[in-house]
């Protein structure tokens, strides 16, 4: 047995056979072939035949629209025009790999230049070429494997396109060789509550079919497990399943301190599932979905209808609705200016709403009408508040409409530092950790090259959250967290230790966070938070918190 270490995402544990996601084959070199043109053509013909058969078989299995796409791909692999182009090159003494690479590339470019539907098919052709080249080299086909049984997926890292194709019913756990706690894989794992360990450099050695235990709580992958380890893992898997199947208790610490667990939602349709997963209400309801697909703002009547449906789904529970957060990565033609050089630092969120108050006025009117029509406990908050004046203005407007509870999102360092003054003007604060991290670290959250800085464990971020937690306590006003951070069970303990009263997250993450909270008292949570605050990097903070939580 060996333990491979990385960063665990969540607290899950899983056991099963490894399936590797094969890397894309490196592009071939144009070197002279050592084989005769006939031998090269023969190799290519066999590879093409095998790839076409595999694609057709997958299409047969997939059915529906995927079947058409895969069958069309199989047909492209065997295309006579492509075969001629390949043969021309093997006749000239090129290797099969180079001939396929160059001939497919030529067709791909033609298709791309034609655009539209054909442009989209160019990617399909590229995929076929990579499969044929991998086959010629005796390598497994690139992409997500399909071993037809549950498996532990081991990959370099997952791209968004890969995760779209993942059959989550079959994936027991994710292990990545690269990537960190903020990689796409980690985000997916948190959102779907999949057991994952990322950044496991030694996972390079894992081979398909090998039996492993993936322990996210410990951040390890155990290879060749002993019977004892297997029994331990099976027992913990059963325990977790039992906890998740048990009747849902409200979120609370070991000493009974209540920590309501809420859901982040983007449309009314998710409400029923969130309740089923134990959401005690909604901590962040994003209203953008009502606006993003339209050229103009929806009417007051349309908005009232949507908000009423949402509030009804939650009965008398708390629902925190965020006013329209447009701008930056969510531009809206009727509200935001796309000409800005740094839209994340521009007229976005509440700034955009105050620049054109009609949209905000309509939204608040609709929310007030929905509040009247239902039993729900409606809270309304403003996005991207950076000054006390903005908080005051929003609070006035919301209360004037008859909205009972008006608050702000703390996403900018200035509002974290002025939290006490801001809380003096409003009824509550909710910390948006993704944006707060982006602005604290001056690292664009959409930019891959600085994604290592987008980590809410960074002590700089934690210290700002401490300011907000302390302000909540001194003013007696509630402080919540809605963001990626609340879905990380250990970080959730830290947040509570920093003075946060409620946590809101993707519904799938609720169960793990609920379980973790029951393991610590308020005093222990404060000690875990102190340990994290004293660190000087995100990785150290995580490590210090883990050690303190096990003390």
């Amino acid at each position: 047995m060996t333990d491979l270490t990385g960063t665990g995402i969540g607290r899950g544990i899983a056991r099963g056979p490894v399936a590797r996601m094969a890397a894309l084959p490196a592009p071939p070199q144009d070197v002279p072939s050592q084989l005769s043109p006939e031998e090269e053509s023969q190799r290519v013909a066999e590879a093409v035949q095998a790839v076409a058969e595999e694609l057709a078989a997958r299409g047969e299995q997939a059915g529906g629209q995927a079947k058409d796409v895969l069958e069309a791909q199989a047909m492209m692999a065997q295309d006579p025009a492509l075969a001629d182009a390949v043969s021309e090159r093997t006749q000239a003494g090129k290797t099969g790999e180079w001939a396929v690479f160059e001939a497919f590339d030529e067709f791909r470019r033609t298709m791309e230049s034609l655009g539209g539907y054909l442009g989209e098919r160019a990617a399909d052709l590229n995929d076929v070429a990579q499969r044929v080249i991998a086959r010629l080299r005796g390598l497994p086909a690139p992409g997500v494997p399909d071993p037809r049984h549950p498996f532990v997926l081991v990959a370099e890292d997952l791209a968004p396109a890969d995760t779209a194709l993942l059959d989550l019913e079959k994936v027991l756990a994710l292990v990545t060789i690269e990537g960190g706690p903020t990689s796409h894989t980690a985000i997916l794992a948190r959102e779907k509550a999949i057991t994952a360990v990322v950044g496991v450099a030694a996972a390079e050695e894992l081979t398909g079919g090998e039996d492993v235990i993936v322990d996210a709580a410990a951040g390890t992958v155990i290879t060749a497990p002993t019977q004892e380890q297997i029994d331990d893992a099976e027992q913990r898997i059963a325990q977790r399943a039992a906890v998740q199947a048990a009747p849902m208790a409200p979120g609370a610490l070991a000493d009974g301190t209540e920590v309501p667990l809420l859901a982040n939602l983007g449309s009314p349709e998710g409400a029923a599932e969130a309740v089923e997963l134990g959401a005690e209400g909604v901590g962040l309801f994003r209203t953008e979905f009502l606006f993003l697909s339209s050229d103009e703002a929806p009417t007051v009547a349309e908005q009232t209808e949507s908000y009423t449906a949402l509030l009804q789904a939650f009965g008398g529970r708390k629902v925190v609705v965020r006013a329209l957060d447009a701008g930056a990565d969510k531009p809206l033609s009727f509200l935001t200016n796309t000409e800005e050089e740094n839209p994340a630092l521009g007229l976005r969120g509440l700034r955009a709403l105050l620049a054109d108050e009609q949209v905000l006025d309509d939204q608040l009117t609709a929310l007030a009408q929905a509040q009247e029509a239902t039993e729900a406990d409606l809270w309304v908050m403003a996005p991207m508040v950076s000054t006390v004046e903005e908080a005051q203005r929003f609070s006035e407007l919301a209360h004037a409409k008859g909205l009972k509870t008006a608050g702000v999102m703390v996403e900018v360092p200035s509002s974290a530092l002025l939290a006490e003054d801001i809380l003096g003007e409003v009824d509550f604060a909710s910390i948006g950790t993704n944006d707060l991290t982006q602005y604290t670290m001056a690292a664009d959250r959409m930019l891959g090259s600085v994604s290592h800085l987008q980590d809410p464990w960074h002590p700089a971020v934690l210290r700002l959250i401490r300011e907000v937690g302390a302000a909540g306590q001194s003013t007696g006003k509630p402080v919540g967290v809605c963001g990626e951070a609340a879905a990380d069970p250990l970080l959730a303990v830290v947040l509570v230790g920093l003075g946060v009263n409620t946590l809101s997250m993707a519904p799938a993450a609720l169960s793990d966070v609920r379980t973790e909270l029951t393991l610590h008292s308020a005093e222990q949570a404060r000690a875990v938070a102190q340990a994290a605050l004293g660190a000087s990097s995100a990785a150290e903070a995580r490590k210090a918190a883990l050690a303190a939580s096990q003390a």
Partner: protein, 88 residues
Amino acid sequence: MSASRTVTVASSSGLHARPAKLFVEAVQGTGSTITLAKGEKSVNAASILTVLSLGVEKGDEVTLTAEGGEEEQALDTLEQFLTTDHDA
């Protein structure tokens, strides 16, 4: 020997996507060598890539040319294919 026929395409998405794939299958099924021409450009009708590259839309006139025996029968089959709306 060769035979030609000019046909107006009825499929609502022309020879894109699914209809293109089905058309090429039909061509391969005839066992004849078929050329498909639109305007000045003429391509091997057994190649999905070149057929797609013609960008045939609904209502376009295309010319089918068959060689290699059973030409009329092959053209009948393909004409029937092209004058049916496969996206309906």
